[in-house]
Each structure stands twice: as C-alpha cells, then as structure tokens.
Symmetry: C2
DNA sequence: AGCCTTGTTAACTATTCAGTTAACTGTCAT
DNA sequence: ATGACAGTTAACTGAATAGTTAACAAGGCT
C-alpha cells in the first residue's frame, strides 16, 4: 500500500474538481468530505494533506471557480462591432456563460448565503478583477462616441442590470415558476428572456439623448423581431 | 415534569417561528433540530410530535413564509394612482418588502438550491397565488387605457424584470460587492438602485407607443431627480 | 548505501445529529 | 371517579461526520 501515484499535482487537481462538484451540488454544510474522497478515489487524508480542512477545500474550490469565470469572460471579445450589436451579444454571452456553468451560480449563492465569510478569507478572490465590467465600459464609451448611447452611463449599473436579469432567471427558476405558473426551462422561454434582457439594457443605454431619435429607432427595429415577450 | 403548558397552539407556533429563523440562517443542511428545540424552550420530541421530521418542519416553515409574503403583498394597494407613479411605488414596495424580510429571500434561495424538491411536497404552497402579478396587470391595464404604457405588455415579464432587479441586489450583495468593489449596503446605494429599477421598468413599459411622446417625457421628468445612478 | 522529504493509505476517535422510547401529566367525556 | 387521549419531558440510540494517527513507500540528496 501507500503506492505513489505518478503525479501528485494531478491528484490535487482531481480532488479540487470533485470538491467543486460536491460543494456546488449540496452547499458547504451538505457537502461530505468522505464523499469527495471516495469519488476522487484517494484516501480522505489526502484532502487534509492538500487543503488542511473542509473550509480550506471550499475556499480553494471557490477560488478556482472564480478563475474559471474570469477566464471565460476574458475570451469574450465583442469589442469589434457596433455598440448596439455588441451589447446584445454581451447579454447573450453572459446568459450562456451562466447557463453553461451552473456550478458557478451555485457556489456564488453559497458564498452569499454565508454572508461572504469565505470571500473574506481569500485575498486571491478579492484581487480577481472582473473583465466583464471593463468590456461594458468599452462598449458604452464606443456607443457614446458614436452618439447612440447616452453619456455618463455607469458601467457598474449596466453590469448589475444585465447580470441580475440573467442570473436571477437561472438561479431562482423554481420559485419563479411557482410564482408565475410558467415553464422557464425550455429553450424557447430562455431565448425570449435573453432578448428581453437585451431590449431592456439597450433601452436604458439609448434612452434620452434628447436631440437624437436615431438610436432608439435602431433598437426598436431589432426589438420588433423579439417582442412577443415570454 | 411533563407539565402542561396553557396553550399547545402557541407552542407549535413558537417552534415554527424559531424553525423559520434557523432554516433561513443556516439552510436545511446547516439547521440543527436540537438548536430549534432549545431556542423554542421545549423538548426536542415536540418538533417531531407536531411536524413529524426535520423535512416536515422545513416544509411548514416554507409554507408559513409564503403565506406571510402573500399577505404582505396583499396589503399593497397602489391601485388608485396614476400608472407611472403606481409602478414606481410598486417597485419601491417590492424592494422594501424583500429588504425587510431577509428570511424570505434566504428560504427561497434554499428552496431553489434544493431544485424545488420541497415545493413539490406542498400543494399548499403551489396553490398560493401571487397577488403582485395581479397588481401589475391592473397597473399595466390602467396605463394602457390612459395611453401611457404600450399595449400587449405581459405582466409576468414585468414582474420578473422588477423582482429580479430587486431580489438580486439584496440576495447577491456579497459577490456583487466583490465584482464591483462597491458598497451596496448603504441606504444611499439602495435608494439609487431602487430608483434605477423604477426607471428601467418604466422605460420598458412606456417605450414605443410610437404616436405619443407625452408619457416618455413624464417618466424622464422623474428620472431627472434620480439619475446620478448608483 | 542511507536517510530525509513528500505523498499516500487504512484504521481510529470523538462528537454531533436526526430520530425514538418510555414514562408521565393534566383534561375532558362518560 | 376513571380512563382514554393530547401534550410534554428526559434520556437513549445508532449512524454519520470532520478530523487524526501511525505506518509506510518511493525519489532524490549527500
């Protein structure tokens, strides 16, 4: 026994991956250290060897998740296009990113449930900037210069608006379905919602540059295709 | 021992109240039956006597929470006023209701985390309709008749929009603060955000009734006071 | 060759937790 | 009055859980 695996880094990595799954699936309190060990096919003490405690492992999982999200958002480069199209693509990208990474939503929810107590423990996470906000700034500036967006738009507000609308739809699917008696899981519902989010964000960005009516017309031309509305 | 309390209903009620606290604070997995019993100052078996199991207690707590939320929303009667003002008041009310009832947010989050598994167990909850959607319908209709809102607005979409924007701000405060490096807890931030949500929703409701420009002007007059934006 | 360091296992421990049991106590209908 | 029933308690049980220990195995350094 105690045979040496070829590659310790890989073992650590495997534990981390399985931990992310477990923590995302069940939350911190629901997660079972034994289960993570079993699934990683290493002895439980390995988790303690590499991560020191259940909390240590959770923080490591969170950090990794944030890094993955950042990398995913870095890959986005809608920057080339016209601002209205770019903003619409950014909304779509944001929604798709969240949709395709449910673990990220669940881990963030867990973190909020714990009132940010784990975030406080990780300088690493606190230092991880969010490239999405920069991308938004870029698009807003471009739009302002071209005269399609109003001036003095705050990228943080735009970020919060679009991410709230995308995130909540996915994160609170079950209670929303109860409140509305609608199915939100279907591809059709999702598509309609994403279009709605795009409309809303663009409406906000283009509204009231009182001298120009041109931009608004542009948005609405696109809106026409989508607005049967969920 | 085994002294008889004056009022069994009150005992049951006390257990339920403390259970709501505990489940909201720590989630289902983090909640401790012993702790609820201790705080309710009854023996643990009382919880099992009245609610059968930890799950039974959780479902009862959820049901109660939904009833409270519904009652709270019933009390709202912005119906009298002009539609634009009414919508703005409705947004404010929604935000305040969520803000003043953090347990509700936490229990709903828990329910979503569990993929609606407890909702499925409670016909009671599934039958609890949400009066807010009706109120929105009412305001939208009024607005349509008066020509300030566009026709064919879907109340469910308006509901999802405003509740996402209010809920997410409160529910995901910690991760949002990390992403943006801003304080969202201050009264000032909250006020600005609520105004922003009002603006966005009204923008959506009033946009593109192409013949009339009057309503838009009305919205914007109000917006002027608020839009330093978060 | 020998030994220190890193990686690894299996078995153990102490505690915590959901749920159970058995006994007891007032109250109310007969 | 009496006995069934609803309400209540304290103590118990068995399983699960986070974390620990001791021993050991393979490379690399001297």
């Amino acid at each position: 026994m105690a045979r040496r695996s070829s590659d310790p880094a890989r073992v650590r990595e495997k534990i981390l991956k399985l931990a992310m799954e477990e923590f995302a699936r069940t939350g911190f309190d629901g997660a079972r250290v034994d289960r993570i060990a079993e699934r990683s096919k290493v002895s439980k003490n390995m988790l303690y060897y590499y991560f020191k405690s259940k909390e240590g492992l959770f923080v490591a999982a969170l950090e990794r998740m944030y890094e993955e999200v950042r990398d995913q958002q870095r890959e986005l480069s809608v920057r080339a296009h016209d601002p209205i199209l770019a903003m619409r693509q950014l909304v779509e990208h944001t929604f798709q990113a969240l949709e395709s990474n449910p673990n990220a939503i669940r881990l963030m929810n867990e973190e909020n449930k714990q009132r940010g107590r784990f975030l406080r423990k990780s300088k690493r996470i606190r230092d991880l900037y969010n490239p999405l906000v920069e991308t938004i700034s870029f698009i807003l500036e471009r739009g302002r210069v071209e005269g399609v967006f109003r001036p003095a738009l705050d990228s943080a507000v735009v970020y919060m608006t679009l991410s709230s609308l995308c995130y909540h739809y996915l994160s609170n699917r079950y209670t929303l379905e109860i409140a509305l008696g609608k199915d939100l899981a279907s591809a059709a519902s999702r598509k309609t919602w994403v279009e709605h989010v795009g409309n809303i964000v663009l409406l906000y960005c283009t509204a009231e540059v009182p001298s120009t009516t041109a931009p608004k017309t542009a948005v609405m031309r696109q809106r026409a295709t989508s607005d049967a509305d969920a």
